[in-house]
Subunit: 241 residues, 2 copies
């Protein structure tokens, strides 16, 4: 990928790299308390978490494909083989990154929904869709890792599947409530569900995949365009008054 496009650099590595010259002797061992934030020992102490954080950072900087195990190790100040202890493969690291991202995603969505009235399911559905698109546009790299589906298998992670299933169940519940309150024109909730998902997912990906310029959508108006298409869709499925 893009990692190969920058040969004349990197050799004089960025971060301090934590000199590793006089090694064979004993290690500083200064802070012995391992409160999850004490480096400088032979054993890192919190490598797993730091690697995930570094990977997230890399994804933010150059997209999901720019995440490399070695660079993550480098940023953690650790040898290239060290991550192997925690993640047998790059995909396992990406999977962990996805778990973290998905967790944040779910929290964000839940918060948005909580801020709306339970009396109006369709309004909640709208808010759901908007929160979905907003988060995706605000965290493009994370969203890409979650959704692109080529960095990991959903069967691998229990947490990942659970978080996802919860979002789907939430969608279904909102639609059932809306139908029960006579807010919907059609009763084929399954189709509405898939269509709604396709709409918000498609919009989010259009942004992430860089389609907006071609389609004449300025970044500054992305949010209001999201509002507009949600309105169009919801008005389309709502029972006319």
């Amino acid at each position: 990928m893009s990692k190969f496009a920058k040969p004349p650099s990197r050799s004089a590595s960025k971060l301090p790299a934590r000199k590793r010259a006089a090694r064979p002797s004993v290690v500083p061992r200064a802070a012995k308390g391992r409160t999850a934030t004490s480096p400088k020992t032979y054993h890192h102490g919190d490598l797993r978490r730091v690697l995930i954080a570094a990977a997230l950072e890399l994804a933010e900087e150059g997209g999901a494909d720019a995440v490399s195990v070695r660079e993550a190790a480098r940023r953690a100040g650790v040898s290239p083989g060290a991550p192997f202890r925690h993640f047998p493969s790059r995909n396992d690291l990406m999977s962990a990154v996805a778990e973290e991202a998905q967790r944040r995603f779910r929290v964000s969505i839940a918060a948005a929904i909580a801020g709306t009235s339970a009396d109006d399911p369709l309004a909640r559905f709208r808010a759901f869709g908007m929160a979905y698109m907003r988060w995706a546009m605000t965290n493009p790299a994370h969203f890409e890792v979650i959704s692109s589906g080529k960095y990991f298998s959903h069967d691998q992670s229990e947490a990942l599947r659970e978080d996802n299933d919860e979002l789907i169940a939430m969608t279904e519940q909102l639609l059932m409530d809306a139908l029960a309150q006579g807010q919907l024109r059609s009763s084929d909730l399954r189709v509405i569900k898939i269509a709604g998902r396709a709409l918000v997912y498609g919009f989010a990906r259009m942004k992430i995949d860089g389609h907006f310029p071609r389609w004449g959508v300025a970044d500054a108006e992305a949010d209001q365009m999201a509002e507009a298409i949600i309105t169009l869709f919801v008005d389309g499925i709502a029972r006319p008054v």
Copy 2:
């Protein structure tokens, strides 16, 4: 990428590899006619096209990320450095692949639209959407190359941008006609355009990105689901009778 996940193979290369042992001497030079299908000379004669074809093939086999310049060269029976003459970088190769794929895409769409009556713009709009989703689902790898937007820049290729602009213009024209005939509920064509695009693009990507299982859509019913969501959408934007 996934290329790294298969170390114990590939060494005993697949295809015949066209033995390259006794090289320093003169080359067969049998068929001298260069009708675009005569190999066996020092100069390949049609490398560019063959490389694109090989790349398309690789994309079909293992997704867009599985495309490697070296493997394409290998399949073309040529040294790893040869493609450089035709494509300065991997992205340039991918760009050419995208051009080819986009051309096929446009042809397919145009054919589908041509098979509908010009008297009913909204029906054409529907057919457009269906053709879009069908092609994407039938040619997932090609579609990914075209749309993922990380293999090339749209500014690079004139043909690419033209083909794309034509599809967008087609969408706009159909909507204008539909509005003129009083088929639409709303007159905000821009929003309808973006929403429609997000819908079909999102559905196509859901399929390609492997979201269907999680959302309970079986592959066998993908086509009819596509019909259903298009119907839902079009009914939603159509003026009620």
